[in-house]
Symmetry: C2
Subunit: 372 residues, 2 copies
């Protein structure tokens, strides 16, 4: 019952675990390492699908929890699936909803059967089993679906981590069984908290079940960066070479560089889009807080070395004015820039791996940053 | 000292006062009758200059009061003027700031010298004389500037109206004198409240001073539609045929049709943009309130007969979802549609006048509307 792998490895860095490859999806081939912009509620906030195409985004993320709550997966299915609903022609990965449900804290209760929770919109009592998570994602029609997993609080004891991770394994089996639309891919999520041995064990359990790709979950939950990177480093050697690896919810530009270095192929994070709306912009020389008065009279572009629509057409002074005036165009232009920065960074990373020049790229990357 | 008129009359309807012409500006020739989208703070809210170009907007409006308060006309001048600051290649008309200042009510005090007021942002004491209004607009570099005028409250007695209108005349003379950058055009504003005789008299006074165009001001201030249309009808016969006529701050789609019928060439209004953000959308069959539950499951476009980006690519159900979810894309897509509706309406009106078929157009327009 094992399917052909959807991942093709192009080449590998000779001095680290960085890999250059591609993932075949129902909506195009995605070049990896890749960053996936987050489109929580059926739109990547503040921009259009055409804006995403212009910045060569090939795959975006949708949040199952949010779409399940509103407008509902059944409605989206009636509209022909999420791609058609939101007019996006590229690939879509949906999370399982688990992470958002666990974030509800006192509104959520986890049992063997699944997650009982209340809608953050109207308090309605809801329940999501592993089977439901797959069913909802199948209705959404995403190209890559994620298993429902449990989220381990940080910090957690080894015993808590073992119990939670074991439940994730049992749920992963149920997700695998519920997965009937085989043109959609299903990824397992490696948990194991901050315990390298548990990470290894869980990776092996998921590989035994057999998925189209493997995610590293439960990171960026409050631990420091060093520990997060250690956990990635402790996990990737136990993942199969011929399947894609996805580090969930991570991270800053340097987190991406460090993730790639440790063998990760796929990333997603709200950071570029959320920071854009908060006026924090990523540039080749570090972060710019656009509301600061020193940008008020600056006629130069946000980033001299950036070729995005925003940098080609607008000054820092204008972006400062729009942000101070709370104009919607501010969120639009900032989002275009930040996502372009992330996607261009990944493009540069892919080119560096192709040249087997990743170490040099990494050194240049850090030397240009004034701050991060 | 009279300049060549910037207005060319193409043709005129044989059975009403509708006229088809063009206005020559420093940033392109504008086909009239024309609707000018409002770009209050140096951006037409929620869309880009490219969006405006795609919908064939040739001229937009900027608000002097808002730009004077933030970021300041001197800063905009340092950036090379408003066109360059906001990256808009078409024409710009700026109002004088008077209307916004008068709207501040208790924060404003009018004397012979000018308008003393407080900033709505930080309460700073400010003062705008007629000369200042021209100086600010010259610094902004708009293609068409407006004289500072006084706003007459509604209702007002004849005596109040006479005094206020006389002050507007004295200010108009001072504006005319302060107007030194002759590549920018200056329009006078006909006041006279709700008194046809005063409208006529004021038009004649302004024509004596001599402007590049004539606006009809002080309407849509609380009077009913019938009275507003009567006042337009009482004013246009007294305006010269070879100069453009601009009805300020008006209005609904039918207000535009009725204004054109009475000989108006130019319009501006926040209605299409503001309503877009409130979820009220203009269609060929009337207004649609997109948050209404009946749109939730509607897979059809907002307006079957509309060719805008929004209607070509998105369903009513998706627009409903975006609006309910308060997504920024909602404001963007709604604004594109509403402005496209207004600009397309004007295009249809221009074609009808060219064919000398305006009466038939008007009849069709009303027969299609289910409500307005």
């Amino acid at each position: 019952m094992k399917k052909e792998s959807i991942f093709t490895l192009h080449n590998r860095a000779s001095d680290c675990r960085a890999r250059r490859g591609e993932v075949k999806t129902g909506h195009g081939v995605v070049q990896t390492p890749v960053f996936m912009p987050v489109g929580t509620q059926g739109t990547v906030k503040a921009i259009t699908p055409e804006n995403l195409q212009e910045m060569s985004a090939g795959i975006i993320l949708g949040n199952t929890y949010h779409l399940y709550i509103r407008p509902g997966h059944e409605l989206i299915e009636r509209f022909g699936g999420l791609h058609k609903f939101m007019n996006w022609k590229g690939a879509i990965l949906t999370d399982s909803g688990g992470f958002q449900i666990f974030s509800l804290k006192e509104l959520a209760k986890i049992t063997e059967e699944g997650a009982a929770f209340r809608s953050h919109l109207d308090g309605a009592k809801l329940f999501l089993s592993p089977e439901d998570a797959v069913e909802v994602q199948q209705a959404l029609g995403s190209d890559i679906m994620m298993c429902l997993d449990t989220c381990i609080p940080f910090p957690a004891t080894e015993q808590e981590t073992i119990e939670s991770t074991n439940l994730t394994t049992r749920w992963a089996k149920r997700c695998r069984k519920a997965h009937t639309r085989r043109e959609q891919l299903l990824f397992g999520i490696v948990q194991g908290g901050m315990f390298p041995e548990l990470r290894k064990k869980h990776a092996e359990e998921l590989i035994d079940i057999g998925f189209d790709g493997y995610a590293i979950g439960g990171l960026s939950v409050g631990e420091d960066k060093e520990l997060m990177r250690e956990m990635v480093e402790a996990t990737t050697p136990h993942l199969p070479e011929d399947y894609p690896r996805y580090l969930m919810g991570v991270g800053t530009p340097s987190d991406l560089v460090e993730g790639v270095r440790r063998g990760v192929d796929m990333f997603d994070c709200v950071m570029p889009t959320r920071n854009a709306r908060n006026g924090t912009l990523f540039t080749s020389t570090g972060r710019v807080v656009i509301k600061n008065a020193r940008h008020r009279d600056d006629q130069g572009p946000l980033d001299e070395s950036c070729s995005c629509y925003t940098c080609r057409n607008y000054s820092r002074g204008y972006l400062h004015h729009l942000f101070k005036s709370r104009e919607i165009l501010s969120y639009h232009l900032n989002t275009i820039h930040n996502l372009h920065y992330y996607l261009h960074l990944m493009e540069t990373i892919r080119a560096a791996i192709e040249r087997d020049d990743f170490a040099q790229f990494r050194q240049d990357f850090y030397s240009k940053l004034e701050s991060e």
